[in-house]
Symmetry: C2
DNA sequence: GTGAAAGCGCTAACAT
DNA sequence: ATGTTAGCGCTTTCAC
C-alpha cells in the first residue's frame, strides 16, 4: 500500500474523472443500480476504494432528506446511583444504531424546561431522523411538539394514565410486585418502602406495585412504612425512624441502590442482622448491589437491552412512519441473593412446627 | 398561541416569501450581517420565530463545510468497573459540546481492528469536524489515518514513548506514586501491586509510578508482590497467594475498584483486619470505592472534567487547525479514607517510642 | 448503459 | 440595503 498523502476530500467527481465517466453513472454504480454494466460497477468500486472515497454524509442527507442518525436525549445525570443504568442503556442504543448503519447523536439538553430552543433545533434541524426521549414528564411539551412536527420519536418511560405515543418502558409495578411478593412468601407482613423522587413517573408505578402486592395478600397499607422522595443524605435518618417503630418492619423495599445500602448500614448500626432481622430488596441491579455485603436480592432490568430495543423501535418507526403505536413493557426479573430471609418470628413458628 | 399544524419543513424560502424579500437577504438577516437594515433584520427574525424556522443543519454543513459536531469513539465497555468513569466522561464531553453549540456523535465502533470501514466512514464522511479517540493502542493505525486525512483529533490517553499527537490524559504514574508514597509514609515497606490488563497503555504508566515511589524510598522491587493482567475471577486467588507469603505485604495498591474489593474480601476471609493488618489504596474513585466497608483511600481523577476538557481541546483545534500540539496531563489527587493506616509492627514501634 | 440538467437548503461572491 | 448568480456533493428524472 503506497503511503501517499490522501486528498483533503475525495468526491464522486474525482472518481468520475478517474474512470472517464459522468458523475451520474458513478453515483449509480456506487449505489449498485442495475442499469449500470457490471464491468463499470466493478471498476467504479475499485477506484473508489483506491482513492479511499467515502460519501459526504451532508450532501447525501440534503438530497435524500435522511440523516441516517437518531438523537438520544439523556436527562442530566441525577445521582451516581443511576450511572450504571444509563451507561448500559447508551451502549445498547449505540450498538443498535451501528448495526442499522445509523449514527447516534447524544444530547444532554435539560429535560425540565420542556421544548426549549436547543430541543427545537435538534427536532427541526434535520440532523436526525428521529428522537429517543427519556425522562418523560406528565404533560411533556416535547411530545406535543414532536407530534406537530411529525418527527418520529420513541419514549423511554411513560407517564401515568393513557398514553398516545410509542414507548418502551420497564414494568416497574410488576417488578416491585415480584419483590414484595417474594418477601410476603417468606413470611413478612410489615414491609417498608423507600422511594426516590416522585418527579419520576416510574415512582408512581413502583409504589402501585407495592400496594398491589400487599392488597393481594390481604395486608393493610400502613403509610408510616412508606417514604418517598428520598435522597442520599436523608436515607439514614428515615431508615432509623422506620426501625425505631414499635412494630418495626421486618423487610424493606428500596427503589435505588443507594437507598438499599443506607438501609443495610443503618440496620447494622442498630445491631440488626441482614437478613435475619431485616430483609432488603432493591430495584435495579448493579455492581454496587451485587457486591454489597451481603449481596442484595434485586429487581433486575436488562439495561443494555432496553437501550437496544428503544433504538431499534425508533429506527423501525423511521423506516415506516405510518406504523401504528408501539407500547412495549419489559417485565424485570428478580435475582435472589442473601439479603432476604424469613423474619425471625416466622422462623420460630416454622421451627416449632417441625 | 394558535394550535395549527406546523409545516413539515420551514425553509429560508418560506420566510422570504412571507416577508417579500430574497432568500439572500433573509439568510444574511438571520445571520445578523450588518449590511441588512435593522428593521428588516427584526422582521425576518420575527417571522422566522413565528414559523418556527430552524436551519437545515445538513444544507448549512454542506455549504460551510462545517458539521458543528464532533465524534466520540468509546471503547466497547470492558468491565463494569469502568462504568462510572465512562458515563461521567461522556457527560462531560456532551456538556462541553452543548456549550460550544456542537453536537456529539457517539460511536461504539470496536477499537481493536484499527482504522476499519466504520471508522473511515466517520472520519471521512464529513459528518463530524473532528474526533475524540479513546483507548489508544501502541501503534494506532487510526492516528496515522487521521493525520493523513488531516482531520482534527484529540486522544484521550496516550501510549508509552514519544507522542506526536494532541492528547489529554491522566498522569497515572503520578497518581500511583502519590498512593504508594502515602503508604510508605505510613511506614509500609512491603506493598503489593494489583494491575489490570497490560493491553491498556495506562497500565505501564501506573506500574512505573509504583516502581518510582519504591525506588525513591530506597525500597527494593520484589516482583513476587506485583501481579498484572488481573481480571475479576482471578483477583481473589492472587490476593490469597500474596497474603500467604511468609513476608506478606502490609499494604496493597489496586488498579481498579473490583481488584481492591476482592483484596478486602480475601483479607477478611483470612481473618485480617483492614486497615490494621492490610492497607488498601485503589486507583479511580467511585461509588463502589466510597461506599465500601471500610471506605477506601483512592486516587481520584476528575472523570467528568476530563471529558469536558477533551472535548474543549478538540473544539479548539477545530477552530484553529494549525494550532500546535497540546499534550495535557491531569494529575489525580489522593482521597484518604479509612482503608489505610500504619502497619502493625510499625504501630508497636511507635507505641514503644512514645 | 450512459449523460445532461435540475435541485435538495443554504451562503458567499458580485452586482446594483 | 437588497437581489442575482453560482455552487457545496449528491441523487434523480429524463433524454439519448
Amino acid at each position: 500500500m503506497a503511503h501517499h498523502t490522501l486528498e483533503p476530500m475525495v468526491t464522486i467527481k474525482d472518481i468520475a474523472r478517474e474512470v472517464g465517466l459522468s458523475v451520474t453513472t458513478v453515483s449509480r454504480a456506487l449505489n449498485n443500480h442495475d442499469d449500470v454494466s457490471v464491468g463499470t460497477r466493478r471498476l467504479v468500486h475499485e477506484v473508489a476504494r483506491r482513492l479511499d472515497y467515502h460519501p459526504n454524509a451532508m450532501a447525501r442527507s440534503l438530497q435524500n432528506s435522511r440523516a441516517d442518525a437518531i438523537g438520544l436525549l439523556i436527562p442530566p445525570i441525577l445521582h451516581r446511583a443511576y450511572d450504571a443504568f444509563w451507561l448500559d442503556f447508551i451502549g445498547g442504543a449505540a450498538s443498535a444504531c451501528a448495526t442499522a448503519g445509523s449514527d447516534l447523536l447524544l444530547s444532554a439538553v435539560s429535560t425540565s424546561d420542556g421544548a426549549n430552543d436547543d430541543f427545537k433545533r435538534l427536532a427541526r434541524g434535520r440532523r436526525v431522523d428521529g428522537l429517543l426521549l427519556c425522562d418523560i414528564q406528565q404533560a411533556d411539551p416535547r411530545i406535543e411538539y414532536l407530534r406537530r412536527t411529525s418527527l418520529p420519536f420513541v419514549a423511554f418511560g411513560r407517564t401515568m394514565g393513557p398514553q398516545n405515543y410509542s414507548f418502551i418502558d420497564v414494568d416497574g409495578a410488576a417488578g416491585v410486585r415480584q419483590a414484595v411478593e417474594h418477601l410476603i412468601q417468606l413470611g413478612h407482613r410489615r414491609i417498608g418502602y423507600l422511594g426516590v423522587s416522585t418527579k419520576f413517573s416510574f415512582s408512581s408505578f413502583r409504589l402501585r406495585g407495592y400496594q398491589d402486592a400487599l392488597a393481594r395478600a390481604g395486608i393493610g397499607y400502613d403509610e408510616r412504612l412508606v417514604h418517598e422522595g428520598l435522597t442520599a443524605p436523608m436515607a439514614a435518618a428515615v431508615m432509623a425512624r422506620l426501625l425505631d417503630l414499635s412494630d418495626r418492619p421486618t423487610a424493606v423495599f428500596a427503589s435505588a441502590d443507594f437507598l438499599a445500602l443506607a438501609a443495610v448500614k443503618t440496620a447494622r448500626t442498630m445491631a440488626l442482622d441482614i437478613p435475619a432481622d431485616l430483609s432488603v430488596v432493591v430495584f435495579d441491579d448493579g455492581a454496587l448491589v451485587e457486591g454489597a455485603d451481603p449481596p442484595l436480592t434485586a429487581v433486575n432490568q436488562p439495561n443494555r437491552r432496553l437501550g437496544e430495543e428503544a433504538a431499534e423501535l425508533l429506527l423501525q418507526r423511521i423506516a415506516r412512519t405510518e406504523a401504528p403505536l408501539v407500547q412495549r413493557l419489559v417485565i424485570p426479573s428478580l435475582t435472589q441473593r442473601s439479603s432476604t430471609a424469613p423474619p425471625r418470628e416466622y422462623q420460630h413458628v416454622m421451627s416449632a412446627a417441625q
